[in-house]
């Protein structure tokens, strides 16, 4: 039966290819859109939930959250390091991690922080940098893989203006793949950032660069872009935000800085609510594509069956029972359905790799092996849709006996 089904499909290869193509497009697009939307949403939420509060310079709340948690966008500015020291002394706080972002390596963000920031991230290779040392880096998985860098290699980061620092940094460790934003970041000690910008400051003075840029570099010394805070409980986070939001701090030079404190989950939730509307539009478009393809698949199948009427009549005349004929066409369409659904799934994963590069710029790394139950439901539904018209057609034909006069 299977052999005959395959032979029969080979005869109608153009129709079979058209049906498979149609199913692959509809199912592939639906699965890809759903998977991407879910992973982006989950990636953003899971990262936001890790910290209770973020304290940084006054400005956009979203920018502060996106910059410190997803390493996207530019930092809002700097605040004095003494804020970090103060928070580390605060009894409500369990962890206060400094965060400075100023450089990049081959387009990947370079973040100066403490080793505590990476405490829960396992290392694939090497060791974690020592907080009391300088000029050593730990690379995210994708950075090491893409740039083909190993432990012991030396790298040169670039300033945001595009100039490469002359001081090399030594790679001491490479993080395991996390399928998160951490895969795309170069981590180093806060001191490294300060040291590099001290050098850069001198260098740029030699090069006679504009005063504004020099001022920026000078400001990095003893400064951080933000502080990521974990509190003992959520109520402490609320009081901490209330205490620090809008507070004015002065550094040792007497410059004043207005602080901003946010609860990242609230900020991200607000962003996601706006993004959700876009997500629903994508889902509606996918549903429309899916419905249109159901109609197309049904029409193609019905036309196929119409053309097969002569063949069915012939088989009936030589004595082949309607049950066998039904089974023959159901097997054929099941093969088409299975092949299409598998291809749709594989193509959606292939597209996900391309999407991954795009989404990584938003700070989310897509996990290509992640499969959601709804994706399975979509694929099973598409399979059922590809077989259903045949079952209906052959059932109708069976009632009419299928023998033409």
């Amino acid at each position: 039966m299977l052999k005959f089904s395959l032979k029969n499909m080979l005869i109608k290869k153009v129709q079979v290819i058209l049906i498979i193509f149609s199913i692959v497009i509809s199912a592939g697009v639906a699965v890809l859109a759903y998977n991407t939307a879910q992973q982006v949403s989950e990636g953003i939420t899971s990262t936001a939930g890790y910290y209770s509060a973020i304290i940084g310079p006054a400005g956009s709340k979203t920018q502060l959250a996106m910059n410190t948690m997803y390493f996207t966008d530019a930092p809002l500015g700097t605040i004095p390091f003494k804020v970090v020291s103060e928070l580390q002394q605060d009894t409500r706080v369990t962890e206060a991690i400094p965060f400075a972002m100023a450089d990049s390596y081959n387009g990947y963000a370079c973040v100066g922080t403490s080793s505590a920031f990476l405490a829960e991230k396992p290392l694939r290779e090497g060791e974690m940098f020592r907080d009391d040392a300088s000029l050593s880096v730990v690379l995210g998985y994708s950075v090491a893989k893409t740039c083909r860098v190993s432990v012991g290699d030396q790298i040169f980061t670039s300033h945001s203006a595009g100039e490469e620092h002359k001081t090399p940094l030594t790679v001491v460790g490479i993080l395991d793949q996390t399928h998160s934003v951490y895969d795309n970041v170069v981590f180093t000690q806060l001191k490294t950032i300060w040291d590099l910008h001290e050098d850069g400051h001198e260098h740029e003075e030699e090069e006679d660069h504009d005063e504004h840029e020099e001022h920026d570099h000078a400001e990095m010394n003893g400064m951080v872009c933000a502080v990521l805070v974990r509190t003992q409980n959520p109520s402490f986070a609320m009081t901490l935000v209330s205490d620090y939001d809008g507070r004015i701090e002065t550094d040792r030079d007497g410059d004043s800085f207005t602080l901003q404190a946010i609860e990242p989950m609230d900020t991200v939730r607000g962003v996601l609510e706006e993004a959700n509307n876009t997500k629903y539009i994508v889902f509606i478009l996918c549903a429309i594509i899916l419905v249109m393809n159901i109609i197309i698949i049904s029409i193609i199948t019905l036309l196929n069956m119409y053309h097969s009427a002569k063949e069915i009549s012939l088989m009936r005349l030589i004595g082949i029972g309607m049950r066998r004929i039904n089974l023959l066409y159901i097997i054929q369409n099941s093969i088409i359905g299975v092949v299409s659904v598998v291809l749709a799934f594989l193509i959606s994963r292939l597209c996900l790799t391309f999407m991954s590069d795009y989404v990584a710029t938003m700070g989310v790394v897509l996990n290509l092996t992640k499969v959601y139950p709804l994706e399975i439901v979509i694929l099973v539904a598409v399979f059922a849709i590809s077989v259903l018209p045949t079952v209906i057609c052959t059932t109708v034909m069976a009632r009419k006996d299928g023998i033409s006069d």
């Binding site: 005959f4 063949e311 012939l314 030589i318 029972g321 023998i403």
Partner: protein
């Protein structure tokens, strides 16, 4: 033995055919002669269980065809009857062997196909697609498919209809050769082939031709 008793067949176009009682004995070859529309092919279709008669009875080896369920008719046709169609009823895109192997869907043993094709002189064509064969070759394939299941009854509807006389005569001889010992009922309008059959039945006499249902009263008066 095939017994036709009091059979009538009415068509949608309001014409009908009344058949006189007929008996076909086992192992003999019969030739049904007659003008177009006199009911030759219809009789074959009724014997094969493809068409049901309006009245009367078609009894084959004691079993009444028209009281069988469709499923029983299908089983009977696949097991007992080899039907050779005028237009061959072959799938043009498939090969000769595939057209015969299609019977395996119903569990028919087609292992004798190669020998049968050899005997019919088309063994070398077995892997060719039907659409690439001549009319005579197609008819031989149709014969092979009908006979491969070793049926008790062979029905042939105009087996030479699409062939010239020389080839048609050869096909009839081959058909008679391979169906030796079986009941063969062949429909043809070429009386030159009559010499090859055990019995020749003039269907014009059996049915009196097709008549309008509305004027049935006048006919039978």
């Amino acid at each position: 033995m095939i017994e036709i008793t009091g059979v009538t067949k009415q068509f949608k176009n309001e014409t009908a055919i009344d058949y006189s009682d007929l008996t076909f004995e086992d192992g003999k070859s019969y030739m049904l002669l007659g003008a177009s529309g006199c009911g030759k092919s219809t009789l074959l279709n009724m014997i094969a269980g493809v068409l049901p008669p309006e009245t009367g009875e078609i009894r084959i080896n004691g079993r009444v065809m028209n009281t069988m369920s469709q499923k029983e008719k299908d089983r009977f046709r696949i097991q007992k009857i080899g039907y050779i169609f005028q237009d061959f009823k072959l799938i043009p895109e498939m090969t000769v062997m595939d057209n015969i192997d299609i019977l395996r869907l119903e569990g028919v043993d087609t292992s004798g196909a190669a020998a049968l094709l050899e005997r019919l002189g088309i063994a070398s064509q077995k892997n060719k697609k039907i659409k690439h064969l001549s009319g005579g070759q197609k008819q031989r394939v149709a014969i092979a498919r009908a006979l491969v299941k070793k049926p008790e009854i062979i029905l042939a509807d105009e087996p030479t209809g699409n062939l010239n006389y020389a080839i048609g005569e050869q096909v009839i001889q081959e058909l008679l050769g391979v169906s030796e010992g079986k009941t063969l009922i062949a429909v043809t309008h070429d009386d030159r082939l009559a010499k090859y059959f055990d019995c020749v039945i003039d269907m014009n006499e059996v049915t009196g031709g097709r008549y309008d249902v509305e004027s049935a009263g006048e006919k039978h008066a």
